[in-house]
Symmetry: C2
Subunit: 331 residues, 2 copies
DNA sequence: ATGAAAGCGCTAACAA
DNA sequence: TTGTTAGCGCTTTCAT
């Protein structure tokens, strides 16, 4: 850590103390086995005694590997992202990597400028709910290792929660309860990959089930947005509301409670993701659970995989969690 | 970004193209003003045209400044931490810094080993709810810039939420509702700085108010821990329960609901922090709100301040949010 | 199996 | 105001 003189211990200090060349110290620590066992043990002992820790910056400059990954998110307010962060950090740490966190505040310009700024500082980028144009993503993928989360782009590695499975389960659940008129509350931004797929899948499954579907929005993907959407949602005459995500759904329920509209007796409400709080809100929320942590872990694995077998696209299942916010259609 | 040849653009490319020395390019970008305006503009233009972005790693090796900060947390499950992360990222980004996230899984050994591993890779550390021994923290502070969150150690910069204010408000609130017997559910680990202060302050304010206080625990600082504590809590005969944090309090309420014990008619329940969910759980939770984001921001500011006026200790106020989980003592 | 030497891309004295 | 020259601490050929 620190020499008696107060200086940080460098590889030179270890080399001098162990009476070997600096390169030998480097090898002893990075490629033991390519060394005489005794020298390697000796060097290790000296390094330990001196409290030597290689400077990651210097190491990165030489090796071109920083052993760190960036996680780029639209914001840090959404509970869904928190799960992704947790999974990513866990997997990164397990692989001996460091995780850099960056929020881009929903601004696509900031998104690419942060990538540019971190370029060289990390070995790869996990882009969650990327807002950038597809062409720009492909261009970036030409020079950087990236993995997308909840967005698919042809030829780029990605991890998404199956939107078709989710929407299908949702519609089948509602249809089986007798609902014939369902409204989907879109989340902003409207062109959000997941938002588009969820709506498309809901509409198409609705058609095949003989359930009428409408879309409203986009609304902010938060309780606030849900509350703002609630009145319009019931005004459509729908007996069931599917929100783009759980916080929106909770916002809907809170607003309906204020108005005295009973959930699920008058209106059923569903969300997506099963984030923190969806189990203890009132009524508890029926939702399509996303494996948030696994998303983060899978994205890290994708990034760390040998470049050979890349371009995978991982599709994770969504599963229906039935709670108390959905019930038989009234009438 | 990338030269026609596919190589990443370096400072040398810019220098060659602009017909100046590399150091001049460096200056033009880092210390404009110390340069002839025309040269500086010319270099800037060339750099822009080539899409030059300085390599942060190389820059750090030369300057000894990485422009990045590490945020070290016991885990990434606690909602309270999420707020701190959000605030820290925001403030770091505003200051042009990058945030490295590291969880140490509650293990003090991992805590210090992650610090050692990141040493040199970041300019400073924010240590949230640090578990390390005080002496070790002081030793680390000798060689690294650190800022503690929710822990105070003599002479070290820190940001804490006022535990006395919080506990005082809590006890006064309960006393005014006629409660005479209060139980505090401690959070693990027992020696957690905040846990200790909260209990001490509750006990002492209880004494001066003539309210009997007991401590139970420690329990896991989560809904799970709260649920496990609930039965024992009511068994004490207390009419009010104060949990170490909100998730615990929510866990208590869920368990009590299962048992048919009414909150707040039979037992009042309070938590700390006012995290996500405390407003929409059922009943909504009376709690002592912590300014989580501001904690993160303040910690970053502390770290980024000129070394001269360091060793500040910031104490942020906790404020009482009265909701529906507290009511008059029964009887 | 080990050492010598050349960089990685940049910053920062020091010169001019 | 600008160029020259050393490094920063490490990895990595290339020799030996």
């Amino acid at each position: 850590m620190v020499s008696p003189a107060g200086r940080v211990v460098t590889i030179s200090d270890v080399a001098a103390e162990a009476q070997v060349a600096r390169s030998t110290v480097s090898r002893a620590l990075n490629h033991p086995g390519r060394l005489n066992l005794r020298t390697q043990q000796h060097i290790q002992a000296v390094a330990d005694r001196l409290g030597y820790h290689p400077n990651p910056v210097a190491r990165a400059l030489g090796s071109q590997r920083t052993e760190s990954l960036a996680l780029l998110l639209p914001n840090l307010s959404n509970q869904f992202f928190f799960g992704v962060i947790r999974g990513a950090e866990e997997q990164a740490a397990a692989a001996g990597h460091t995780l850099v966190l960056a929020g881009f505040r929903g601004d696509p310009d900031q998104e690419s400028s942060r990538i540019a700024g971190l370029s060289g500082a990390v070995d790869g980028f996990i882009l969650v709910a990327a807002r950038m144009a597809q062409g720009e993503l492909q261009r970036i993928a030409g020079t950087h290792r990236i993995a997308l989360v909840n967005r698919q782009v042809l030829g780029l590695p990605s991890v998404v929660v199956d939107p078709v499975m989710g929407a299908t389960h949702a519609m089948e659940h509602l249809a089986s309860l007798g609902h014939r008129r369902v409204v989907y509350l879109g989340g902003a931004p409207k062109q959000n990959w997941m938002n588009v797929r969820r709506w498309k899948s809901i509409r198409s499954r609705g058609a095949s089930l003989g359930v009428e579907t409408h879309q409203l929005g986009p609304f902010a993907p938060s309780q606030f947005g849900g509350a703002a959407a609630a009145d319009a949602a019931v005004a459509t005459g729908a007996t069931a509301v599917i929100a783009f995500n759980d916080p929106m759904a909770i916002g809907v329920m809170r607003r309906l409670a204020e108005r005295g509209v009973d959930v699920p007796d008058v209106v059923s409400v569903m969300g997506f993701d099963d984030v923190y709080g969806s189990d203890f809100c009132s009524p508890s929320l029926t939702t399509l659970a996303s494996p948030t942590e696994e998303i983060g872990r899978a994205a890290v694995r994708l990034l760390l995989e040998p470049a050979g077998d890349r371009a995978h696209s991982v599709v994770l299942p969504a599963h229906l969690v039935i709670r108390n916010s959905t019930g038989p259609a009234p009438g």
